[in-house]
């Protein structure tokens, strides 16, 4: 029951959204996040969007791994 999955907001009606994840459509309450728009990615947990997912941070994390790897390669 405790899984949360990344999902994309398709449409918003009042405080409820239709979101898509892994090819399925779910309903998600938007009561717990601010300024949600269609196209945003959110974490869906037990019928609620619990947080927006930051694309910038997602890319940054992967960049850091790459940099760490390069740094380690340079040290014998």
């Amino acid at each position: 029951m405790c899984l949360s999955i990344p999902a994309r907001i398709m449409s918003i009606n009042d405080n409820m959204a239709e979101v898509s994840a892994g090819g399925s459509i779910f309903k998600a309450g938007l009561h717990l996040i601010e300024d949600a728009k269609p196209g945003d990615y959110i974490l869906l947990h037990a019928g609620f969007a619990i947080q927006k997912i930051s694309e910038a941070e997602a890319t940054e994390t992967l960049k850091i791994i790459e940099e760490m790897n390069n740094a380690m390669k340079d040290t014998p």
Binding site: M1, C2, A21, K27, L32, A46, F48, I53, A58, T61
Partner: protein, 361 residues
């Protein structure tokens, strides 16, 4: 799928595996607190990607698993009220209570329905004004804000037939209980979705008070591998701290709106955890303003014992002391279809995860 594929990328994973093997200097034991992590670690075979000197142990972060028998007994008492409907997350229905489970009661005619969200339970209440709807509220900081929103909506709508049987819990006190128990670990893989709500700062007491490292971690293989690397480095440098690996969803202060909803509806209380007993201020109870939604008020008091089947070692597993393979019932008498203990019920339960991935260790 965005935010999944990149974090399952084989090349990135193998780079991380390489960095990990070049960084290890001793034996390390890290505890993944969250059942979602336990599941992901087995599903992606993380243990096979890292050197043997790193041991991963599971902790108490599966809400179904730590729910005591008395909660199930109370839920069954609710299901026996006249004109009642139980609305529950699916996993709970197979958890054994003292004498029965909700699944058994359902086959005997009780109206027990599986919902994916507390809002769905409220909807059932709207559609069935002549019935009492009891939602079984379990889960950690990730789940409780959704229950809080639902309770507030029930209040606004003036619902008279909607109730919560509540056993929501919070994570940090259980982690502290594990440390105080003397379980030998070198750091925590901290629950990323709890922290998405609370912020990473709730774990600060762990390095400050107990000098143990923490990384707040996502649920994909790259996330887990990177976190393991971070914990190894914290250990090697003898510099325990709280690091956020799961930056795309977690900040230091978390989700303020969710926290506000949570604290409007709930206040801290002591709570029972299977395997631990009562842990001080580890639970959430409805504030006085919302007490009328408390299902405990509509059942006569159910007194049962939370003692488990003596041969089930769920308690030690939840505290990270033993593995399922040490349990004589594992895979023989106790299987997911017919669980003896709660750890075998949920997909995030350690025994269930081990069984599904057939790990013999």
């Amino acid at each position: 799928m965005k935010y999944i594929d990149e974090y399952r990328d084989k090349e990135v994973i193998s780079k991380l595996a390489d960095m990990i093997s070049r960084s290890v200097r001793k034996n390390y034991t890290f505890m993944e607190v969250c059942g979602g992590h336990t599941n992901a670690i087995h599903r992606f075979g993380i243990a096979s990607l890292i050197p043997e000197c790193i041991r991963l142990v599971s902790g108490p972060g599966c809400p179904v698993c730590v729910t005591g028998k008395s909660f199930i007994d109370k839920a069954i008492a609710c299901s026996k009220l006249e004109n009642s409907i139980i609305a529950t997350f699916g996993d709970l229905i197979r958890v054994p209570g003292s004498a029965s489970s909700m699944e058994k009661e359902r086959s005997l005619g009780a109206d027990i329905r599986i919902v994916f969200s507390a809002l769905e339970a409220l909807e059932i209440a709207r559609l069935n004004p002549e019935k009492k709807i009891i939602f079984l509220g379990i889960g950690f900081e990730t789940t409780a804000p959704g229950t809080a929103v639902t309770v507030k909506q029930a209040e606004i709508a003036g619902m008279q037939n909607f109730f919560i049987l509540n056993a929501h819990k919070v994570m940090p006190p259980a982690m502290e209980a594990i440390i105080k128990d003397g379980v030998n670990i070198d750091g925590f893989i901290c629950p990323g979705h709890v922290a998405a709500i609370t912020g990473s700062a709730i774990f600060n007491f762990i390095p400050e008070r107990y000098r143990l490292g923490c990384t707040v971690t996502g649920f994909e293989p790259v996330d887990l591998m990177q976190s393991i690397l971070m914990l190894i480095r914290q250990n090697n440098d003898n510099a325990p701290k709280v690091e956020i690996q799961y930056n795309r969803a977690v900040t230091e202060m978390g989700n303020a709106l969710a926290q506000k909803n949570l604290s409007e509806v709930f206040e801290p209380c002591n709570a029972y955890w299977r395997g631990f007993g009562i842990i001080p201020v580890s639970g959430l109870k409805l504030r006085m303003k919302y007490e009328k939604f408390d299902a405990e008020n509509i059942i006569s008091s159910v007194v049962t014992d939370d003692e488990d089947d003596p041969s089930c070692i769920c308690g030690e597993i939840l505290r990270g002391v033993k593995s399922p393979s040490a349990c004589p019932l594992f895979g023989t008498l106790c299987v997911p279809e017919n669980p003896t203990g709660a750890c075998m019920v949920s997909n995030e339960g350690t025994c269930n995860t081990w069984f599904r991935y057939m790990i013999n260790g």
